[in-house]
């Protein structure tokens, strides 16, 4: 009973993390067409293997089925969603309207993001909104939840119960500011953080050291980001073209040493499992966030091999 009172949203993810269990989240990118079956297929692969699944919001600035609709569909198909929300496509009115909409549809976990710049996507001529940044977005949702207030200060009758997440990139610069940036998000009201995909473990550990020095690991649940590498080509692509990625050459070489196809995929899964095991030992890491981009089918095997099954059932 007392535990129930301390929960902010009562989502499965919140319960798992609050109970001190090692959490596993997955990710599902909605399709670029009005095809609900894609979402159904992707999330069904993950049922039972993750505690919640992130549903991306026009990721890499490419138009897709909206994150509200996709997250709702994910939950209808039997898996809890973490709805992503970027500041790129909406102003504060739309971001509040959508979170109220998400809430009345039963969505509880929200991930607050700045968003990739429009120039990366399929509508580079669009106006990037950026009315708020991710830190003020977190604060806005916290005030809606805890103070029953809109960003303007106006009151509302029923607050949306939200478990508020954020992202952080331990590999972004300036390095010495990165831990402080997470602290700013904690101060703003973030409950959990999912990091950028980790390939450079020494640098991640360096960042975690700075995070611990600020005591931030005790104020927020940190989920380490994992992306299984499907091929050496994909690793090269991420290194060269995906903003904020740090893919050491030795990782690429390790995958490239295997034959293209199944052998590289197997090595990619093996690497992911090794990394999860190593990251789980880092003080302050409360779980992993597995972003298997267009490779959701790899997740069950990885979670199993990492010794993370069965997923906890938390009342």
């Amino acid at each position: 009973m007392s535990e129930a009172l301390t929960l902010k949203a009562g989502s499965n993810l919140e319960k798992v993390l609050t109970a001190g269990k090692f959490a596993v989240t997955g990710e599902c990118g909605p399709p670029k067409s009005a095809d609900a079956s894609v979402i159904e297929k992707k999330v069904k692969l993950l049922i039972g293997y993750v505690d919640a699944v992130n549903v991306t919001d026009n990721q890499t600035a490419v138009v897709r089925v909206s994150s509200v609709a996709s997250a709702y569909l994910a939950q209808q198909n039997g898996i809890e969603a973490v709805m992503q929300m970027t500041c790129r496509d909406r102003n504060r009115l739309a971001m509040q309207a959508d979170i109220l909409g998400a809430s009345v549809l039963g969505l509880k976990n929200i991930l607050c993001l700045t968003g990739d710049h429009v120039s990366f996507g399929n509508h580079p001529q669009a106006k990037g909104v950026h009315d708020l940044d991710s830190i003020s977005l977190i604060r806005m949702y916290k005030d809606m939840r805890d103070e029953k207030r809109f960003q303007s200060g106006e009151e509302m009758d029923v607050a949306p119960p939200l478990y508020i997440g954020c992202a952080e990139n331990p590999f972004g610069d300036p390095l010495e500011f990165r831990a402080m940036r997470l602290k700013k998000k904690v101060v703003a009201g973030a409950d959990f953080v999912q990091t950028q995909c980790i390939f450079n473990i020494p640098r991640f550990k360096q960042w975690m050291e700075a995070v611990r020095a600020l005591g931030v690991h005790q104020e927020i649940k940190i989920l380490a980001g994992i992306t299984p590498i499907k091929s050496a080509g994909m690793a090269n692509y991420m290194k060269k073209f995906v903003p904020g990625m740090d893919v050491p050459q030795e990782i690429i070489d390790r995958i490239a040493a295997k034959e293209k196809g199944e052998a590289q995929q197997a090595e990619g899964k093996k690497l992911a499992v090794e990394m999860i095991k190593e990251l789980a030992e880092v003080e302050g890491v409360a779980g992993v966030h597995i972003m298997a981009v267009e490779w959701e089918a790899a997740v069950p095997e990885i979670v199993e091999a990492a010794g993370l099954m069965p997923r906890p059932a938390v009342a």
């Binding site: 700045t114 990366f120 950026h130 972004g172 610069d173 602290k183 903003p243």
Partner: protein, 227 residues
Amino acid sequence: MITAERKPFDEIYAMTEGHDEVLVAGCDTCVAICLTGGEKEAEILASEISIKAKSEGRELKVEHTAAIRQCEWEYLDMIADKVGEFPLVLSMGCGIGIQSMAEKFSPKLVMPAVNTNMLGMPQEHAVWLERCAACGECVIGETAGICPVVRCSKSLMNGPCGGSHAGLCEVVGPDQEETECAWALIWERLKAQGREDLMFANRPPKDWSKSSSGGPRKMVREEAKPI
């Protein structure tokens, strides 16, 4: 200052269609300094139009003039007679100059021969960089004299996004040129000033009502009005 770039010649030339007489009007302030629309550039454009018309066997009278500033009524008075001779004016002033001309000489047809692009400064010879968004609420006192509203690609107010790498922004320019990360610059200069804690505090959302989101702005200085 305000910077502008000349429109592609074909686009400008198309504006003269159906006319026999055209005046190219330069402005000798901002757009002259950025080598786009001063008297010299107006003369060059007038010549180009004239040559093109001749090559097509088209009779077109093309002349040029320039105002000291197209954005002030009294300077427009000085070119009023010349403007009066022509039914079509191609203005090379910035967006403010062009509108001032169009209003002053209404209903004469005043067309833009340049694209106004920013409030910037010449970082080096022949290179201009954007420096101000005219957002109506200046924050650079807390950001080491570097504007995050216009120099951060996402107008972030609380430090760099995850795309900041080695001092560079994740966004590259149209010609693949690199852009400095404004927040990396802010961080370094705040450190040099011993004021980096300014980046640790959470800044509230920006009040965009003071920018163009609040509708067209108007400034009145009562004390400066004639008695």
